[in-house]
Amino acid sequence: MTEVGAAVEAIGIHKSFGPTRALRGVGLALEPGRCLGLVGRNGAGKSTMVSVLSGLVQPDAGEVRFAGRPAPPAGAVHAWRERIATVHQHSMVVPDLTVAENIFLGRLPQRRGPLGWRSVSWRTVNADARRTLDDWGLEIDPGAPCRGLTVEQRQLVEIARAVASGTRCLLLDEPTAALEHDAVARLFSRVKQLVASGVAVLYISHHLEEVFDICDDVAVLRDGALVLSAPTRELTRDQLIGAMVGPVPTREIDATVSRLDLSGAGDVRDAERLLEVRELTATSPRGAVRGVSLHVAAGEQVGVVGLVSSGVITLGRVVAGADRADGGTVLLAGRPLPNGRRDSALRAGVGYIPEDRRAEGFVGPLSIAENTTMTVTDRIARQGRGVLTPRALERAAAPLTTALGVAAASLRQPVDELSGGNQQKVTVARALARDPKLVVAITPTRGVDVASKELLLGALRAAAERGAGVLLATDDLDDIEHCDRVVVLVRGAVAAEYRRAQAPAPPFDRETLIAAIEGLGADPDAADSDAAVSLDPHRKESRA
């Protein structure tokens, strides 16, 4: 079976969802032994393309061909999985089954017992799984239940599932969204290994550096159409961004941000220390916090960065009242916040943008208007003893959703139907709707395209300009660009603190930050805020 040409070819794919034209005549070809990057802003049609290429969605027009032959009908899961394997952004392993069983999920090797009964041959399952894992150098115990695995390991199980099925086409849908730096590097070496062995890979990502790092070719979708397709080495980063953003100049985005009007934040500006965290300790599967003290002034943006389990996310959750602390206090404008009470924190003035928008950010079947106003129903309803009308909700939601550029058919549309970036905008709108004194944002731009990222960070900046404090807990260094201070957590404790230099960009030195985050170059003195080191390159030179 020697094939010539594309392993997978999509020809003239059209797909609409109601009034939304998700794809308009997109053609793509995946060559064996090459990695194709697929990029585009949120709502550009990437997810729909993945669904079409993995056989979950039947295109309205156009066809998919595998090695020159027509694809099976959409929905014929088994037939598709023999041809193409997808590693999703959200893990699709079954947590209570073992690694080996997950690898062979749906096609467990069987043997004939006495009387001709078929039964699962566990010996073969485990042996084959071990062989696959060993072949690819994946150090995972095939007998371990998946529940105990890290996000990275679960992803490897999915990749092992793909290669064990003999698939020569692999679709990676934002695989690095949940990984930390080292894990990303390890994943990339796996992908390069797969490509070198002749597998055709489609790599979907928001991180353009990643595309330049591992993709041989790149295709750009914009508004459902293919606008650029070329070998990566012939492109510059600016060309790629230009193709993604299209004719809309970035200035316009800035204009939208400055129009954000979060009315009436009012009297908080005079509070010197808006948020004060003292000796906070907390245990959590997301990483423990061990005696962290920090403060945020009104109008100040403070970034807290660290590795995935460094306690950064736990700290944010405890301050927002979403998790309980074991010890220490959280004071807002001098008054202690009740421990682990999200509702009290909200009423005290803490807005919260949770880490995982699917889990906590919105109620899928409810409308955009209802989700956006969920934090302010008491205010909207004040006159009428708790009575809310859909119209009042829409009136209250409209200014925020407009300012944040939520793209939807109407405010009555269920949030489930929106793209990931727009869902995140709804989550942010919900947090800002109450004019919070303090905004706790946890990884607010995860899984969001470049332009929306700017818009979301701009919304936080606008909140700070109105006098709110911002606590931005993140693992993405791009997020902290506008922060006034950055606190680095290593293993749950403050390892370093940096103050933003007065000079313009780059405000923080990435390499120093990364070194501190990894627990390498953290100067113990730097933890003392009085001795905060300015990392502005100009300042460094003048000192020398």
């Binding site: 919260y352 949770p354 409810l366 409308s367 008491d378 809310l388 058919a409």
Partner: protein
Amino acid sequence: MSSVSDRDQATSATPPHVGAGSPPDPAPAPPAVTGPPAPHSLAARLLARGAGRNPAAVSWIRQAALLPVLVLVLIVGVSQSSVFFTVNNLVSGVGQQVSALGVTVVGESLILLIGGMDLSLEATYGLAPMVAAWLLVPTLAFGSGARLNPYLGILILLAIGAAVGLANGLMIVKARLNGFIVTLGMTVLLAGVQNGIVHGQGPYELPAAFSYLGSAFVGQVPVSLLVAGAIFVLTGLFLRYHRTGRSIYAIGGNPEAARAAGIKVDRIKIGVYIAGSVLAALGGLMEAGRVSSVTVQQGYQEGIIFTVFAAAVIGGVSLKGGRGSMIGAASGVILLGLVQNIIDLAQVSNYWQLAISGAVILFALVLARVVGGEASAE
């Protein structure tokens, strides 16, 4: 007794929008080039051209999904018996029979909407009126002899409902026990008490004030039907237009998101368990008044919880939480009430009645799924 007024009164138990039927004006259909997606539901597909762009319109269609089935049942009823389509049968008879069930279904629907479940409503439906009646009637009529004031008895009945709901709520919400097993245990406990305090002999000769709700009529309309109808309408309005009602949908749709938005999730959940049990106790009061006694069979031994769940789910209240409406729940109740009435009128052999109602419920579930689409009858 004109047939026109019959129909008006028969539907008076349901919120007014059922009859209205027509969805809010849908936006104009998109140009033919793109075309709407192929919806999975029959009703949605039929109306896709007009309503495809308006999600609110689609949800209206779902809510009215049982309307054609109800019409079908009415036709069958008319063909089976000449007494079927009379005020005397539909309003006075069926109306009184379904009221107690309907009030309990409102309670269960609220609990299902927050993503919970309560099997013990049927036991509360039996125990609450049993304790109250036992405290009211003389020892000769199998009471305790305490002979309390009947109004105090009604207060005690409601208090028992509230106490049971609070106990369930605390165990499920605060102690994080599984709702299925907690309420199953509660069912057996309550039913055992119901039997135990009267040694298996149900009190009778209930005071007039106590049985008024279940037995009195205004003209030909049973008071219980008026009260049940009012409860459906008020609960429906509360769910749609009150912030706590909207919070109930948010909690059922995604409890974590509701919590992150500062909604008092635990408090509302416990409140809903209490409300559900109080409504079940009220339903039990109606039933006791209707038959003017409280039997030890009432509730648990009759196995009404199955009918309660069936009515809610047929009416489109999701067992997964966050989805459903009072209009749907009401049509589920009316449908099951009519079917039972037809079985009675058609003089089906007693031995086969149960099998037939089971079959009808399964049939209605499948039909609700076909008409209402993916999300219904879950």
